[in-house]
């Protein structure tokens, strides 16, 4: 029994568990919008595009998250610009722009050696998270949660029916930019926990899981957030016993939950679909 409590005796584990839970929850809240807006790829791309920002921030002595956030926003804006002015499809634009930013980041990191470890950026290292970094995560999460709880209905309408939102006089360009900023900010925060490679899982999987469980957006938000939060906490906790990568544990746990839901969801699960087909065949 006391074995199960061991992780809590270590300060670094306690911090890791709490931060993972917080980031897991915030990312999951946002993931509902990301999955419904069809921005899943964008989340992946953004998390890679922040790398040059991290490097440049170190050179000029700014906090990493500021550099990463600015780089992410610039990358997303440049993508929007290229898409508007060419006939290229969105996936091609994402592919070109974001890999370029990532490559630029690699180049900068190799040209100007810093105390930054590329491994840390790509795979995250929550166990070694410093107190200033925790503060950054807390600030980013706090702002994101505040904005989302206040404006989630506007963002929902924007994702569902942009024309209607515009005809009501809402500023849809602002809402677009708001969602993009939230995405970039949470991607930066999640970078610390799971690293650039796995950020997209945090930003998509909980939303995808919740989408299979409900037909109401409000419930989807709640289910996704709880899933993300629990997976963050339990994943970090479990990683102590497995002695494995924390980010890996969190995401594998999220995937397991997703798989269970994919098969067993009462209405939209695979088994339910099969049952309905059987009933339809018998009647």
């Amino acid at each position: 029994m006391t074995d199960l409590l061991t992780p809590f005796h270590y300060d670094y584990m306690l911090k890791a568990i709490l931060v993972s839970g917080l980031i897991g929850g915030v990312c999951a809240f946002l993931s509902c919008f990301i999955t419904l807006k069809g921005w899943s790829l964008m989340g992946d791309a953004l998390s890679h595009a922040v790398v040059p920002g991290v490097s440049l921030a170190w050179l000029v002595g700014l906090p990493f998250s500021v550099g990463a956030f600015v780089a992410g926003i610039l990358a997303a804006l440049s993508m929007g610009w290229v898409k508007r002015h060419t006939r290229l499809r969105e996936d091609a634009v994402i592919g070109v722009i974001f890999t370029s930013w990532f490559a630029l980041g690699l180049l900068l990191l190799s040209l100007y050696p810093s105390n930054l470890n590329l491994r840390t950026i790509i795979f995250g290292n929550i166990l070694a998270i410093s107190d200033p970094d925790i503060l950054q995560v807390l600030i980013i999460s706090g702002i994101s949660i505040l904005v989302l709880t206040l404006k989630w209905r506007d963002l929902l309408l924007y994702c569902f029916d942009e024309s209607h939102a515009r005809s009501l006089g809402m500023n849809t360009s602002f809402l677009h930019f708001l969602l993009l900023s939230l995405l970039a900010a949470t991607a930066v925060a999640a970078l610390q926990t799971v690293g650039a490679c796995l950020v997209v899982a945090m930003l998509v999987t909980p939303g995808a899981t919740a989408y299979l469980l409900t037909d109401r957006f409000g419930k989807m938000l709640i289910i996704a957030t709880i899933t993300g939060l629990l997976c963050g906490v339990l994943g970090a906790y479990g990683s102590y016993f497995l002695n494995g990568s924390t980010g890996g544990c969190i995401v594998v746990l999220q995937t397991l939950v997703f798989l269970v839901v994919l098969f067993l969801a009462p209405k939209h699960g695979l088994l339910a679909a099969r049952r309905q087909r059987r009933i339809a065949a018998m009647s």
């Binding site: 508007r84 309408l157 005809s167 009501l168 037909d215 957006f217």
Partner: protein
């Protein structure tokens, strides 16, 4: 002192719209509508109907000309929540996790506070709107689980809940059952009688003379605009549709004596299916072989 607003009107004056790729979607389009009118916007696909809609809603800025609503700019009209838009079914993501009630409530967003928390009035208006389109029993349904006609009625209810004075409907009769079509038409008539301006984009020609007072014929510009009786003529329609319109001339045999000069015409608005009085299928070149079907039936001993 309450400002006395000028009577409701839509004034489209010399509007030219060009897209970024240089294509001019609409050139020198002009027409004017007063209060209490149902106006059909008729034209082939790609004739600029949706462009005209977007210009009226202020989504695109004309390179030349202007759109005025009740004498004010489109932006001002939009801020006054005056324009309600009913989208085409194809534009909506039907798998979205919202139910009928949620969608209709979206019509009230413009009237709500910063956090969009619905008041008792909002809820009452949503319930009323659902009732008016006969969808109260379906308010818990996810929108993807509705039939084509029900989907349309939900979005009509949303427009009603918005309480705008101008309603734009994009192809409201596509994929819609007869009951819904009748519901929509009688609703639009009631709104017209309340002084609303209703603009319906359609290529369903048959329904136009039935319920539209005004017609605007569009083909890259406004070809003709005015009361239905004056504008909805064969000559103008040929102009608007060119060779695209399917013409159906009844053969002499269709209206001959032995049929009692009766024709039944069933149409899905694209290609009519024509039966003679005794139930035989009408087809071309039937002349001289009218008795064929009956003789065959006799031979078969029926």
């Amino acid at each position: 002192m309450r400002e006395i607003s000028p009577p409701l009107s839509i004034e489209v004056a010399d509007v030219t719209v060009a897209y970024a790729n240089g294509i001019v979607a609409l050139r020198d389009a002009s027409f004017k509508l007063g209060p209490g009118v149902i106006c059909a916007l008729v034209g082939v696909n790609g004739s600029g109907k949706s462009t005209l809609f977007k210009a009226i809603m202020g989504f695109i800025r004309p390179v030349k000309g202007s759109v005025r609503i009740a004498g004010k700019s489109v932006e001002q009209a939009r801020r006054g929540k005056r324009i309600a838009y009913v989208p085409q079914s194809e534009e909506v993501d039907w798998t979205f996790p919202v139910n009928v009630w949620d969608v209709v409530m979206m019509g009230r967003y413009g009237h709500m506070n910063f956090m969009r928390l619905p008041s008792a009035t909002d809820k009452r208006i949503v319930a009323e709107s659902l009732d008016r389109v006969g969808m109260s029993d379906f308010k818990e349904r996810q929108i993807g689980e509705l039939s084509g006609g029900q989907k349309k009625r939900v979005f009509l209810a949303r427009a009603l809940a918005q309480r705008g004075s101008i309603m734009l409907l994009d192809e409201p009769f596509t994929g819609v059952d007869v009951t819904t079509e009748e519901t929509i038409i009688s609703l639009l008539r009631a709104l017209r009688d309340d002084g609303h301006i209703i603009l319906v984009s359609t290529h369903n020609l048959g329904s136009v003379p039935e319920f539209c007072d005004h017609v605007v014929l569009v083909n890259r510009t406004v070809l003709a605009a005015g009361p239905t009786d004056d504008v909805f003529t064969e000559k103008n329609l040929t102009l608007a549709f060119g060779g695209v319109l399917r013409q159906f001339h009844f053969e002499q045999s269709t209206i001959q004596e032995h049929d009692g000069r009766t024709v039944k015409l069933l149409t899905d608005d694209e290609r009519p299916l024509v039966f003679g009085k005794d139930g035989h299928l009408e087809y071309k070149d039937r002349e001289g072989r009218e008795k064929l079907v009956k003789e065959r039936e006799k031979e078969a001993g029926k």
